[in-house]
């Protein structure tokens, strides 16, 4: 029963920088754009994101994690989103080592203040993990 619930409404955690996540998660939920199980963690810059934060998010309840940073050549902090992208890749490698689908984590890029890409990313990640064997059974 619990497993079915987590498949139908998997917890998705998003790490976004101030510039790519100007709308907060509650507003997105109120507008029905993301599910109740969506959580948004705002960072000053995605370059601040550590590998362990993504792993911990998966360990602590998320079925999928994504990061949305600035468009590569328009990062407010120049290389922040590029760094974040490399860390996401690094986590994918660890997941592969653990026989966990690396598609559970992903890097997305969005223009400043755009909400749509974040909503799209949340849908995409939900679609990916729905049907996968849940981590949190």
């Amino acid at each position: 029963m619990v497993a079915e619930m987590s498949i139908s409404d998997p917890k998705i955690i998003a790490f976004c920088c101030n510039y790519t996540a100007s709308v907060d998660a509650d507003a997105l939920k109120a507008a029905g754009l993301v599910s109740e199980n969506f959580e948004l963690v705002r960072l000053p810059c995605t370059g601040r994101l550590e590998v362990v934060q993504i792993l911990d998010a998966l360990d602590n309840g998320a079925e999928a994690v994504f990061v949305t940073g600035c468009l590569v050549d328009e990062c407010h902090n120049l290389t922040g989103s590029r760094r974040a992208s490399k860390r996401v890749q690094y986590v994918k490698g660890i997941l592969e080592e653990l026989d966990i689908d690396p598609g559970r984590v992903e890097m997305f890029f969005a223009g400043r203040g755009e909400t749509e890409p974040v909503v799209e990313a949340a849908r995409e990640m939900k679609g990916r993990v729905t049907g996968m064997e849940p981590i949190h059974k």
């Binding site: 080592e97 653990l98 981590i135």
Partner: protein, 222 residues
Amino acid sequence: MIIAERKPMQEILGMTAGMKKVLVLGCRGCVAVCSAGGDKEVSILSSALRLGRKMSGEKIEVLEETYVRQCDPEYLEPLRESGKDYDAVISMACGVGVNFIADCCRGVRVLPGVNTTFYGANLSSGEWKEMCAGCGSCVLHLTGGLCPVARCAKSLSNGPCGGSVGGKCEINPDVPCVWQGIYDKLTYLRQEQNLREITPIRDWRPAGHGGPRRRIREDLLS
């Protein structure tokens, strides 16, 4: 510094199979500097271990700690007793640290969390390269500071082999031939005469081929 890298997760999961409580123990020495076993890597391995176990439906308690060094007895002192509380201590120090824990902490089961690979320099962020093999009989004064033991695939002492082509080693076109480098450097330094000296067959005993090595400095002994 000593360079190491984390062991593959499946190997670590295998060596900790069935364990309920482990300590991931980092070292703030060489392995922290080469991003293999410092505080950050301890937290990454711990999280990955928890996640891996979660996937197989088995619980594990993973605690995290990092010592200043694992190759000096004073830092290992607390582990002698506290280490017994764990099914195993996964040391993320180099092999020296793992060995020293095994020697100093009776009753503590220690496991290696990293593969210790070489003595190297940090070329740029995220890139390390072997520079010395700890041969115990340094010849860098004769070779323009470039090591033929560690940086020549065959550890040749008297110039390059026939596989040196265009300054590259025959093992891989990406690997520079260190003997070409030595030749160029000595020429630049006007020390070409070094190349005419025949280096006798190396005595490998100082390199460890005479058994485990030990160094004593009498004035420091207590």
